[in-house]
């Protein structure tokens, strides 16, 4: 039926997922990491934003399973042929959105096009807004749109809640099994945990967020079956589809870049801090110089060079998707090369402090080698900073992709991203009446992603803070007073 395609970014992304799972297993074994992550779990805000992030990640991962569909066999030929375009699992799921294109702009949930056209009605040429090919095409009467929307919203919300109830029911059942508690009691403790004596994982926040997501998803899906929920763009593509496709780009930029920054920052920071002297000077000069070069210039130069290389070697790439993918990876690499300095500086400072600590001195008194001291005594004590920096940098990288694509040195123009959507919106905003929905869709989704990432990062930072203190529970204070 189809042939799987493995893009480099897919491989890297799935490898990172595997890495995260391995890290989670490692964290469960390490006492201090488990306790810190538990504190993340105890925070309602963190768990709610983690749920939203998980939704984004699952969209991005679905979009990272690529394949080429098989073309129908030609008459008299036994040769198997595959389509030149590369699709993903997400494309298959939302085929309606991808395939049902309009001619040009249409507003969200509209039934008519955004611009007037000359058309023939009853033999008379008139200029009017034509009906859309797909949006609301099932309606007999245009006046029935609102009631149709309401009906669809209600049924969508219902199915969303049904899905939610199933998911939560199974999850609670699993918890009840794990704890060996009766089902009803588990429900009660999840909904109203005993905060007076314990600090439970904030499952309630997860389930409430999940309910909101399910309802929104259900309504959107119900509407999307008959309308363009976020409208269409200049060439009539569904904006909701574009936004969903952009999620993968944002996630890739936010995570793959760290693959480049991390080894550089950790290795150079450790060496500079621990060895000191000549090493320290050299590394400090390196990042001071790098920091003094305007980042945008460096990125622009390298991205354009990469583009030339891609253009002059068409034989390297079988499909357009691979070409776009190469450019995305190049962008990640370049962003990584310019953004390791901050973390490196932090790690150098912390290493300077750690190497004077008594346990490092004690290890030196045993004649333990430098490399081993760095690996055993210093690196584990730096990991919390690395982790915090990674989570905090994620949102910054997503935003910087948007900015770079906006000025034309970001991802390939054939690749969907929030940056290219915003770039396109530049012209749309100058129209009268204004075409606002592309920008609004990109804005809302990016806000949700970045805000969730930032809130999660805050909780992670708090949980890994060695001076972490609980806020006193207010109820108790009142009782005491």
């Amino acid at each position: 039926m189809f042939r799987p395609v493995f893009l480099w970014s897919d491989i890297l992304l799935w490898a990172m997922v595997a890495g995260c799972i391995a890290l989670a297993v490692y964290c469960r074994r390490q006492d201090y990491l488990r306790r810190a992550w538990r504190r993340v779990g105890e925070s309602g805000v963190a768990m709610a934003s983690a749920t939203i992030l998980a939704a984004f990640v699952s969209v991005g991962l679905l979009d990272s399973l690529h394949y080429q569909p098989r073309l129908p066999a030609q008459e008299g030929s036994s040769e198997v042929q595959y389509a030149p375009e590369v699709l993903s699992a997400l494309d298959a799921l939302v085929a309606d959105l991808r395939l049902n294109k309009e001619k040009t702009y249409s507003a969200p949930l509209a039934t008519h096009a955004f611009a007037k056209e000359t058309m023939e009605r009853d033999g008379v040429q008139t200029r009017d807004y034509p009906r859309l090919k797909w949006g609301g095409a099932h309606l007999e009467e245009v006046a029935g749109r609102d009631s149709d929307l309401a009906r669809r919203a209600a049924s969508g919300a219902f199915y969303g809640l049904l899905l939610w109830a199933v998911v939560v029911g199974v999850a609670v059942g699993w918890m009840a099994l794990a704890r060996g508690a009766p089902y009803g009691a588990t429900c009660r403790t999840v909904w109203r945990p005993d905060t007076a004596t314990t600090r439970p994982i904030a499952w309630r926040a997860v389930f409430v967020t999940l309910a909101v997501l399910c309802v929104i998803g259900g309504v959107t899906a119900a509407w999307a079956a008959g309308y363009h929920v976020f409208g269409t763009d200049k060439v009539g593509q569904d904006v909701l589809y574009l936004s969903l496709k952009s999620v993968r780009t944002a996630l890739l930029i936010g995570t793959l870049t760290t693959l480049v920054t991390l080894p550089l920052a950790v290795a150079l920071g450790l060496i500079a801090g621990f060895r000191g002297g000549w090493w320290d000077d050299a590394i400090q000069y390196l990042y001071t110089v790098l920091n003094s070069i305007p980042g945008v210039l460096l990125i622009a130069a390298m991205v354009l060079m990469m583009q030339v290389i891609i253009d002059t070697h068409p034989e390297w790439f079988e499909t357009a998707a691979e070409r776009a993918d190469a450019r995305l990876l190049a962008l990640c690499f370049i962003l990584g090369l310019t953004s390791w300095t901050g973390l490196c500086r932090l790690l150098r400072a912390e290493t300077l402090k750690l190497r004077e600590l008594d346990y490092v001195q004690a290890a030196r008194a045993f004649g333990v080698g430098d490399a081993r001291i760095m690996a055993r005594h210093i690196l584990p004590n730096l990991m919390h900073i690395v982790l915090i920096a990674l989570v905090m940098d994620f949102s910054g990288l997503v935003l910087s992709e948007a900015v770079l694509s906006y000025i034309g040195i970001g991802v390939d123009s054939s690749m969907n991203s929030f940056g290219t959507m915003i770039n396109a919106a530049r012209l749309e905003l100058s129209r009268e009446p204004v075409v606002w929905w592309s920008l609004a869709a990109a804005f809302v989704l990016m806000l949700a992603l970045v805000l969730a990432a930032n809130l999660f990062a805050d909780a992670v930072r708090d949980a890994f803070d060695p001076r972490f203190q609980w806020r006193a529970r207010r109820i108790l204070k009142k009782v005491a007073a």
Binding site: Y359, A362, A472
Partner: protein, 674 residues
């Protein structure tokens, strides 16, 4: 200071009744202060005495209503001059802080704001509470600085805290506290971070200010010596409760509560002069999250019986004005109370191994100079002479104590001997091998012969490694195996359980951590251990355990110790020989009896007399040092001690005295030694 045991008939200034303060911790609600009753009269010093974690600092915080975020007052009343403090609004409380009551903190380095001048900081208090600004404020601040004995106060007013030494900072802090003319001064471990000679100055200052101003002082401390010197009334705290209250004289002649007695017995003390075992208090303070049923000390008390575990003791009278929370003093239990004198510390046969003449460690003219670099090109503009020509010898099985104030270079000596810091000059030889000239690989094999135990048990263990890994690391690095068996044996040797190897350091108390650190250094079977203030971060009872352990290991294994400390009492207990350091040089060296019994150098004499003793007749102070330790970057010419020396003459300013001893007396570096 005489101990005025005057009974005041006046109303108490501070009246605390049933005070309860709680902390909301991840482990549950910890009742850090549980039903505290006490009062402080004007002109009187009340000392709250207790080990760490007993709730003393929380009490101070509750009185000032300055509790950590997770803390709150859960009950009771605090009356200051008849005014209830617990019900005041935060705004009223702010007014009361600083004017009615003021607080000085333990760490002078962090309790002053580094970016404001001293005048600005005192001026802030004067403006808030006295309404003084401009010239009058400056005049008042000057008076205050003079009152706390800061020389050249007019110039010092406009200086920043970093230009002050530790003792000066604490004086400035006291001046700030006095600026609001408080009636109650809460001093939370005011001298713990200071050296003994500076501590003596600050304690005298506090006592004088109290006499002059008739202030009430609530002194919070763990140091029986400080209590003996300062307090009129004493309250002993344990696990959040007061367990004994007594006037000074009564407390120091007959401490009533078993815990108080144990505290005295655990103190290493010259009077007993034993190198025997100190009395220890088994176990540790129970977590305050426990719901107590009986006496909180029951599990650690040598005299506990079944009633102690089932019934919380009430207050009983134990002599004039002395109250104690112990069943032994229940009139119904008189039969038990009588015979139980505390067991005297068991005297073990003197552990002095008759030392062979072979020197284990021989240090000759050791110098460590740190370059001071300035400017763009990092040119060397001078040297900090941290260690400036130190010579000493240690024989197998002996302990040499290296004594001196902070900043005198004693820790640097220890690290330079182990080559953790590269010496600038001089030789260190161990078993006749010159440590300084060894290659890296040869040095590694010699590392097994000497090890180090560090001061801070919290900083010396990697929090990310299990105890077993920590202990095994040295063995692994020096190719001595390091299997589970060896680790288990070591853990048992230092009095821990073998199954603790799988735990992380944070699960252990300070004393247990120090045991782990000792096990780590023992792992490679060294002949010499450099102990860098191994007990200074520990409570008295835990200190006794560690000292006993060190003594036992020395007797059993013939270890030699270089014991770096500022605590003279520990020296008396543990050491065979003493070297006194001042500003990078040894000024006096000899056997314990000689140096501590008949000191010859004026600095040694001053140091010894500054140590507060935990007994009543400690008040005599024949010699007091003025001023601070000079900077080792710019040491005085000639004899380093001459600017502070009462006997200094012209010769001391120009000629460096040589360390020498005659007629079997200890060597001393002084032109005018006794």
């Amino acid at each position: 200071m005489s101990g005025p045991d005057v009974r005041h008939v006046v109303e108490p200034l501070l009246d605390v009744r049933g005070l309860i303060a709680e902390l909301d911790t991840p482990a549950g609600i910890a009742r850090a202060v549980d039903g505290l009753d006490f009062e402080v009269r004007a002109g009187e010093t009340m000392a709250l005495l207790g080990e760490s974690g007993c709730g003393k600092s929380m009490t101070a915080g509750a009185l000032m209503r300055l509790l950590p975020d997770v803390g709150y007052i859960a009950g009771g009343s605090v009356k200051l001059a008849g005014r209830e403090l617990t019900t005041l609004t935060e705004a009223q409380m702010r007014e009361s802080r600083g004017s009615d009551m003021a607080m000085i903190f333990q760490e002078p380095a962090t309790s002053l704001n580094p970016v404001l001048t001293v005048l600005q900081q005192i001026g802030e208090v004067l403006a808030t509470h006295r309404g003084l600004r401009g010239a009058p404020a400056r005049a008042r601040a000057l008076e205050l600085l003079n009152a706390v004995g800061i020389p050249d106060a007019a110039r010092r007013l406009d200086e920043y805290p970093f230009q002050f030494s530790g003792g000066m900072k604490q004086r400035a802090m006291i001046a700030m506290a006095l600026a609001g003319e408080p009636r109650l001064l809460i001093a939370d471990e005011p001298t713990t971070a200071l050296d003994v000679t500076i501590q003596a100055q600050v304690l005298d200052l506090l006592a004088r200010l109290q006499r002059e101003r008739g202030m009430a002082v609530l002194l919070i401390t763990h140091d029986l010596g400080v209590v003996a010197r300062m307090a009129h009334q004493i309250g002993v705290m344990y696990a959040g409760q007061l367990i004994e209250q007594a006037p000074r004289a009564a407390f120091f002649t007959r401490p009533a509560h078993p815990y108080s007695k144990l505290l005295f017995d655990a103190l290493p003390d010259a009077a007993r002069h034993g190198r025997g075992e100190l009395a220890t208090i088994p176990g540790s303070v129970p977590p305050l999250t426990t719901a107590f049923t009986g006496c909180r000390l029951a599990d650690r008390c040598p005299q506990a019986w079944s009633r102690c575990r089932d019934e919380a003791p009430a207050w009983h009278e134990a002599g004039e004005a002395q109250r104690v929370r112990c069943h032994l003093y229940d009139p119904a239990e008189t039969a038990r109370a009588a015979p139980t004198a505390t067991a005297p510390s068991t005297v073990v046969a003197d552990g002095r191994i008759e030392a062979g003449q072979a020197r284990l460690l021989s240090v000759r003219d050791l110098k460590v100079h740190f370059p001071i670099r300035r400017g763009v090109l990092q040119r060397v503009v001078g040297h900090v002479r941290a260690v400036d020509g130190v010579s000493l010898d240690i024989r197998p099985g002996r302990t040499l104590a290296l004594v001196g104030e902070s900043g005198c270079g004693k820790t640097t000596v220890g690290k330079a001997i182990l080559r953790l810091i590269e010496p600038t000059g001089g030789t260190v030889s161990l078993d006749g091998q010159d440590v300084g000239s060894l290659s890296r690989s040869a040095l590694r094999s010699l590392r097994a012969r000497m090890q180090m135990v560090f001061q801070d048990p919290y900083g010396s263990l990697n929090p990310r490694m299990r105890v077993g890994e920590i202990i095994g690391e040295g063995m692994g690095a020096l190719q001595q195996g390091g299997d589970g068996m060896a680790v288990a044996r070591l853990l048992e040797q230092v009095g821990l359980r073998a199954d603790m190897a799988d735990r992380y350091p944070h699960e252990f108390s300070g004393g247990q951590r120090q045991r782990i650190a000792i096990a780590r250094s023992l792992a490679v079977q060294p002949a010499l251990i450099v102990c860098d203030e191994p007990t200074s971060a520990l409570d008295v009872s835990v200190q006794a355990q560690i000292l006993n352990l060190l003594g036992r290991l020395q007797r059993d294994m013939g270890l030699a110790y270089l014991f770096i400390t500022h605590n003279i009492a520990v020296v008396e207990h543990l050491a065979h020989d003493v070297a006194v350091m001042y500003l990078g040089r040894i000024v006096e060296i000899g056997s314990v009896d000689q140096v501590l019994g008949a000191p010859r150098h004026p600095y040694t004499k001053a140091l010894l007399s500054a140590v507060p003793r935990a007994d009543l007749d400690a008040a005599t102070l024949p010699q007091k040092l003025t001023g601070d330790l000079p900077s080792p970057a710019d040491p005085p010419s000639g004899c380093h001690f001459h600017p502070r020396c009462p006997r200094a003459q012209a010769r001391c300013r120009t000629d460096v005295p040589v360390l020498e001893g005659h007629d079997g007396r200890q060597a001393v570096a002084c032109w005018f030694a006794d």
